[in-house]
């Protein structure tokens, strides 16, 4: 039987507010355990939560960016369960009336087609603390620094049909929250993570199969692997006549498999009810309009503008707008190398991207700044060096941190544009290869490339390629 995969994601994005969602403690990552947990975060007797307006602003920003409905009236609710990293015995979240509902995002599939993924809701909530086992034999440590950090939980519709689509969607959300500057997107530190709801059904069926939920996936790679593993596992079960059990599963990245955490029967009854310590959150149009006015150019808008303004393909525009920093870098290069947006795009996407990737460096820490790269590209444009030599110069710039002109001068890489000099080199090559010359003249056109290569070798790659072609053609004709 042919199976269809159905996936919905619940993404948790930590909001990059300075203080926690219901207390004044800092949200900075990496402090010693429990130093960033005040009495409110610790759930001491008598303390009360006070909502951080900045977290609200950020959630509204997200809602506007996904074209969702912003609730004029939303309610915080308590999700009750016992766990040592949950100080109050309940998590303050939103349940029946979330701040953001009914939005969507568009992803681009491998074949270039676009697909709209529905976003059911996005709600504000507080993060829990962490249990620590490492280095504490026989006991469990509790670090409540993270307790009370603001999150938005972004719940998608079950609109994705493959692990790849799920990853594309997650990346899209990741890009968006960073554009909006509401989340640092740091997946290693857990600032951006997701739970995946996965089920399979016979292709063509309009009913959903029984789903499982895979918890706490904190990398795009894990999302893809965990979903693929889970899909295969469910198909195996169904094809051997079994039934998928509705349950929560954990992905083990070391073994590359998911395993059962708790079944539906073992699931908590969270006993949600409106938090009586917090008034309903009421937003007026003026506030929402003010947030709307503060929105930056969004990824899709920017990509469309790049295509239009710079004549880039949809794919290139998509790659260059994947992060706001990359897009800014690209535009800086374009500004400094007028009239060459495609050249700039190629260099940013190929040479620069390869170097960044190789050294594991973010665009913001690139060893070749946009200004320096533009300096290099301008030397290509004015024929000082060839594109090929430019790659060599770029490598030298990357390792030495110096600018293009210095390296070109120092290494004597300036392109040879002197006709006499190129002709001399051609003559020498032709003289040294009489056999090939004879064959060429007898009709073996392919050897043209051979001669180009030999001349380039002789000039250490510095001959102007266009001039070389022209002069070589003339000489070969005799």
């Amino acid at each position: 039987m042919e199976w269809e995969t159905v996936i919905g994601l619940e993404i948790h994005a930590q909001l990059s507010t300075k203080s926690k969602i219901f207390s004044g403690s800092s949200t900075a990552y990496g402090a010693a355990p429990n130093v960033q947990a005040n009495l409110v975060d610790l759930g001491y007797p008598g303390v009360l939560p006070v909502l951080n307006r900045e977290a609200v602003r950020m959630a509204v920003k997200f809602g506007l960016a996904i074209d969702a409905k912003i609730a004029r009236h939303s309610v915080f609710a308590r999700k009750n369960y016992f766990y040592p990293d949950l100080p109050k015995g309940y998590q303050i979240s939103q349940y029946e009336l979330p701040i953001v509902a009914d939005g969507s995002l568009e992803i681009v599939l491998d074949d270039g087609t676009r697909k709209r993924i529905g976003i059911t809701r996005a709600h504000l909530e507080e993060d829990a603390g962490k249990s620590i086992h490492e280095g504490l034999p026989g006991v469990t440590g509790i670090d409540l620094n993270r307790a009370g950090t603001p999150l938005i939980e972004i719940v998608s519709e079950p609109d994705m049909r493959s692990a790849k689509e799920a990853v594309a969607y997650m990346k899209k959300v990741h890009t968006l929250v960073r554009y909006l500057e509401i989340c640092d997107g740091n997946m290693q530190e857990g600032s951006f993570r997701c739970d995946a709801n996965v089920s399979v059904r016979p292709k063509g069926s309009d009913r959903f199969g029984t789903r499982t939920e895979i918890k706490n996936l904190n990398s795009f790679r894990f999302v893809e692997k965990a979903i693929n593993y889970e899909v295969a596992r469910q198909i195996d079960i169904l094809e051997s006549g079994g039934k998928v059990v509705q349950e929560t599963r954990l992905y083990d990245p070391d073994r590359g498999e998911t395993r059962s955490m708790r079944t539906k029967e073992e699931a908590n009854d969270y006993r949600y009810f409106p938090d009586p310590d917090l008034l309903p959150l009421v937003l007026d149009d003026a506030f929402i309009d003010e947030v709307r006015a503060s929105l930056p150019e969004l990824p899709d808008q920017k990509a469309a503008r790049f295509s239009e303004q710079y004549g880039l393909s949809a794919y290139d525009a998509g790659v260059l707008t994947a992060s706001r920093e990359l897009a800014d870098y690209y535009e800086e290069v374009v500004r400094r190398v007028p009239g060459e947006p495609k050249l700039a795009a190629n260099w940013v996407m190929v040479e620069l991207a390869a170097a960044l990737n190789r050294d594991g460096v973010e665009i913001t820490e690139s060893r070749v700044s946009a200004g320096r790269l533009a300096g290099l590209l301008n030397r290509i444009v004015d024929n000082t060096i060839s594109g090929k030599i430019a790659k060599e110069v770029f490598e030298a710039m990357w390792t030495s941190g110096r600018d293009a002109d210095t390296i070109i001068e120092e290494k004597g890489l300036r392109q040879i544009t002197d006709t006499a000099a190129i002709e001399k080199a051609i003559d020498e090559v032709l003289a040294a290869n009489p056999k090939q010359l004879a064959e060429y003249r007898a009709g073996k056109d392919k050897l043209f490339g051979f001669f180009v290569g030999q001349v380039m070798k002789a000039t250490k790659g510095k001959a102007n390629p266009a001039q070389l072609n022209e002069l070589l053609k003339k000489k070969l004709q005799g």
Partner: protein
């Protein structure tokens, strides 16, 4: 000295008839003598009190300080007090020294009051007889075989026995007014949101409200003025100015429209108690007020409504007592589940457990709509009944309780009869309205209370209505035999 009202004591301090240290010593001695008989205190803070009194005397000597500077008071042990044991009368918090002051504690400290100690109460404020305290029951100064009422039983008994001129208290379903009535003192529960709940250990957050128990309405006006006000740390506190409650105490009640709640004068009301209330109403009539019967048809549903909403909130509020970060922890837990189960099993008393279980049940999947959601709807209806009544009348007056104080142990075996003791007080909590109970005479030698309920934020009005009655009567100045 202790026969004076707080207002008179404050005046005496300013006139330097006595010092705050003298006054404080006097009350500390009374507390130490009274404690074995009444058990009104969980903690007596002698040293801190004397230090605070000395500081207050320095302020007074320098001609500084406000109307409450140097005045001794007691805090119900539900309010967090920095560096002082704060138990909520529970074994669960029997070792809890609060690292911070509740907002009202800080405010009253800043106003120059001197804390004498922490008053006993029903465990986590759950009870109407002060019998659920881990520290044992409080006894009624009018008769030690009787309960003082609850949950603020220690606060009411301390003021009634003149162990303190004032005691802070909290009221979730009548916990200020009912013990005030049963002990023959004055107790005001302000409008929900008028007094900060920050640092007041939560029982049922949407109903809890701090207030004060005093000898007179004038005293209550003085203390409430210092406690009330918006607190940025409490999102449910309301940002409206606090009037000078003492300024309007003597306003005339001529033409005042008093509503008599039909539902309050029901068959559950002790006929003699009713008689005292009718006599008080006659005083108001004599002063020119007009009486009018009003009906709140949904009010009879207030007790069942309350016993869904309050336990629901309590079941969640008390989840933080898990033995992990503070408070009681069971010995040698085997694992996490064992830690939770034994800590909570051993740390909470029977009434608290009963309410946690009730609350957990009414919030559970499948029961939420039938209980919690329905109760919230009924709560709305009751609030609307009050709104309608206040379109016709200025205040509502009736009994505070159906009967005077009952015997210790009389109702402990039957939670429902215990719960029914709050039948007249719960309505104001469900609707968030301010209400005051003042002494209005005696039934079989025991004090009974008159309850005055006002519109939202009409504290000044109900204090005024209470005060003009206290000008005409001296019930509030009666001191229990043996405590004079």
């Amino acid at each position: 000295m202790h026969r004076r009202t707080l207002a008179e004591l404050a005046a005496g301090l300013r006139k330097k008839e006595f010092s705050s240290v003298e006054l404080t010593r006097h009350y500390l001695e009374r507390i130490e003598r009274g404690q074995p008989a009444l058990n009104a205190f969980v903690t007596i803070t002698r040293e801190q009190a004397l230090a605070a009194a000395e500081a207050a005397d320095r302020e007074l000597a320098a001609g500084r300080g406000g109307p409450l500077t140097g005045v001794p008071i007691v805090h119900k042990d539900i309010f967090c007090t920095q560096g002082v044991l704060t138990t909520c009368a529970s074994r669960m918090l029997s070792n809890f020294v609060s690292p911070y002051d509740a907002t009202i504690v800080a405010k009253l400290k800043a106003a120059g009051t001197v804390m004498l100690g922490k008053a006993n109460m029903d465990e986590f404020a759950m009870g109407s007889s002060n019998e659920t305290s881990w520290y044992g029951p409080v006894r009624n100064p009018w008769n030690p075989e009787l309960v003082p009422g609850g949950s603020s039983g220690g606060s009411a008994a301390a003021v009634a026995a003149r162990l303190a001129p004032a005691a802070t208290a909290t009221d979730t379903g009548g916990s200020i007014r009912q013990p005030a009535a049963l002990c023959g003192v004055t107790g005001i529960k302000p409008t929900y949101g008028r007094v900060s709940r920050y640092g007041m250990i939560a029982f049922a957050s949407s109903l809890d409200q701090g207030g004060v128990i005093t000898v007179s309405a004038e005293d209550a006006a003085l203390v409430l003025g210092a406690m009330a006000g918006f607190d940025p740390q409490d999102s449910t506190s309301v940002d409206t100015p606090v009037p000078d409650y003492t300024a309007t105490l003597n306003d005339s009640v001529e033409g005042l429209k008093i509503g008599l709640l039909k539902e309050f004068f029901d068959k559950g009301l002790d006929p003699e108690n009713e008689q005292r209330v009718r006599e008080a109403l006659a005083v108001y009539e004599r002063l020119g007020a007009r009486l009018q019967e009003v009906s709140l048809p949904n009010l009879p549903l207030s007790v069942p409504t309350y016993y869904v909403v309050a336990p629901a909130e309590c079941s969640s509020n008390l989840a933080r007592y898990d033995g992990v970060r503070f408070g009681y922890r069971c010995e040698n837990p085997r694992d996490l589940m064992d830690l939770y189960k034994r800590t909570r099993g051993e740390g909470f008393g029977a009434e608290v457990k009963r309410r946690i279980m009730t609350g957990t049940y009414v919030l559970s999947a499948g029961y939420y709509d039938a209980y919690y959601l329905k109760a919230q709807k009924v709560r709305q209806l009751i609030a609307r009944d009050f709104e309608r009544a206040f379109q016709e009348v200025d205040v509502l007056i009736g009994p505070t309780t159906p009967t005077p104080a009952f015997a210790l142990g009389a109702k402990t075996s039957d939670p429902i009869t215990m719960y029914l003791n709050d039948i007249y007080t719960i309505g104001a909590n469900l609707a968030g309205l301010p209400a005051i109970s003042i002494p209005c005479g005696f039934v079989r030698g025991l004090p009974v209370g008159l309850q005055i309920v006002g519109r939202h934020f009409a504290e000044a009005k109900i204090l005024n209505v209470a005060h003009v009655y206290q000008r005409e009567t001296d019930w509030h100045l009666r001191v229990p035999p043996g405590w004079a």
